[in-house]
Amino acid sequence: MFTKVLIANRGEIALRVARTCRELGIATVAVYSTADRDSTVTAFADESVHIGPPPAGRSYLSAPALVEAVRRTGADAVHPGYGFLSEDPDFAEVCAEEGIVFVGPDWPVLERLGDKASARELMLSAGLPLLPGSGGVCATEAECLRTAARLGLPVIVKAVAGGGGRGMAIARDEASLPAVYRETRATAQSLYGDGRVYVERYLDGARHVEIQVLADRHGNALALGDRDCSVQRRHQKLVEETPAPGLSPATREAMALAAVHGVRTAGLVGAATVEFLVDSDENFYFLEVNARLQVEHPVTEMVTGVDIVEQQLRLAAGEPLTLGEQDVRGRGAAVECRLNAEDPDRDFRATPGTLEVFHLPGGPFTRVDTHCVPGATISPYYDPLLAKIVTWGVDRRAALRRMDRALAEVRIEGPGVSVNTALLRRVLADPDFAAGTYSTALLTEMLTASGSAR
């Protein structure tokens, strides 16, 4: 096992990773930009390195800064968290060259899975069901129109380099397709420096269900159950739960098998999530592989009792997977709500500011992951996630009632700071959500119906 791990991230996930390192007796190195100088993880970690100014491009996204921080502190591994460089094949390659263990898949695997077109091909070859699509990059507008004519509308145009809900747009009719195509190309070019896009049939009213997988270097892989992440705003997840409600055991098992097979086919080592769209007939279609820790991993932890970060570290250190099916059998249900400093009434605009009051819930079967403390300042440079509230219950209903109790305890106040607590409670109260019959359209429909997010 490692003796010192540098955590190449910030916010709640940096603290999350540092906690498990501490529990395993591994020394921790935090890194921080000037904006995060007084952060909780900096105080928690054994050492800290100031890696750059607030803009992520010169700090958390700067591979040279991170590699030099590793050299300076003598860490033997880097945990990238989620976002930032967590799925960057170049960073993983540099780490490998420098003799630093990257806690994640090998860089060629990241490269293959990061290109959404090649990931599609790979999973197709592994026999996973895919939505009908362009079968590769759609190089011209004409090709895009031909593909859409073949697939039928609506279609979704996606950036090859995209992921995590960014760089994608839906075209509902032929007339709008050329504009959608051009805009997605332009967005992809500006976001990723890679304008290539592909086209897939778009499923209305589908659910977003994902399988958590662990895989070692010795040919063992294991699914840790599924998560439903259909409650999304602008393709960004807001509420996640496990197990996905209402799926038949047969579908659940078939998805888990497909996910494990896909991960093995990709040669992936570590923790990964295979995302699927599931239609109302329980047909499921491969979406993408997230070859990293997910924001929503705690729901799986609460139900299975597995510390996924510990598993990542062990797997990255080359240890064999010692968990079997019997060790990861889920108990009960868990749900996570993301508390964001954002204003649902103003198109979810981030509302940075100082948290004068910051009170989060606790008590039975309630987990809180946060990097914030009273008096902390939420910087405009990074994502507006303040805290993750996770509750467990013997069944879905108990977990959801507990979540509503927990959200009612939240008190966060500060000048200019708006928090999405009320919207989260509205989701819990929504009849479709409560019945477990919701799809990715839920939040949009809720907001459209009320004309307001509150």
Binding site: T34, H50, G52, R58, S62, A65, P380
Partner: protein, 148 residues
């Protein structure tokens, strides 16, 4: 509200200094500044919202000169070198007079050599980091007195 010459007043002053320093390091998009100490608050807000995309990465070659003008700080994490080659003459020595674009050292990060510029005119009063040491971002490298 006048600032009384008390500890709280000094605190406010220091906070203001930090805020200005932070603002200076950021390429653009500053949106709100709030300085508070106890009940005293100073708040400034600009209309434009900050750009959510990462700023284009500037070529990190100028050292960041801190606003007191006392030090030239490391513009990135890496190894600080006094000279352009092992055993070569150092870029600057104590007593040297430097101009804004004088190279005062090099920070090597991942085999890239990044020149550190003085950033302003002055006289070198100290070389604060030994040759070959690993430095973090913002670490003072060279002490610089104003003028020359």
């Amino acid at each position: 509200m006048s600032t009384p010459p008390t500890e709280a007043g000094q605190l406010v002053e220091e906070l203001g200094r930090q805020a200005r320093r932070l603002a200076a390091e950021v390429p653009g998009g500053l949106c709100r500044v709030s300085v508070r100490a106890g009940d005293a608050t100073v708040e400034l807000e600009w209309a434009a919202s900050p750009d959510p995309r990462p700023a284009p990465e500037p070529e990190p070659e100028a050292g960041e000169t801190d606003e007191t003008g006392e030090t030239v700080d490391a513009p990135l994490v890496g190894t600080f070198y006094h000279a352009s080659e092992p055993g070569g003459p150092p870029f600057v020595r104590v007593g040297d007079v430097v101009a804004q674009d004088t190279v005062v050292g090099i920070v090597e990060a991942m085999k890239m050599m990044n020149k550190v510029l003085a950033g302003r005119a002055g006289t070198v009063t100290g070389v604060l980091v030994p040759d070959g040491d690993l430095v973090e971002y913002g670490q003072p490298l060279i002490a610089l007195a104003s003028g020359g």
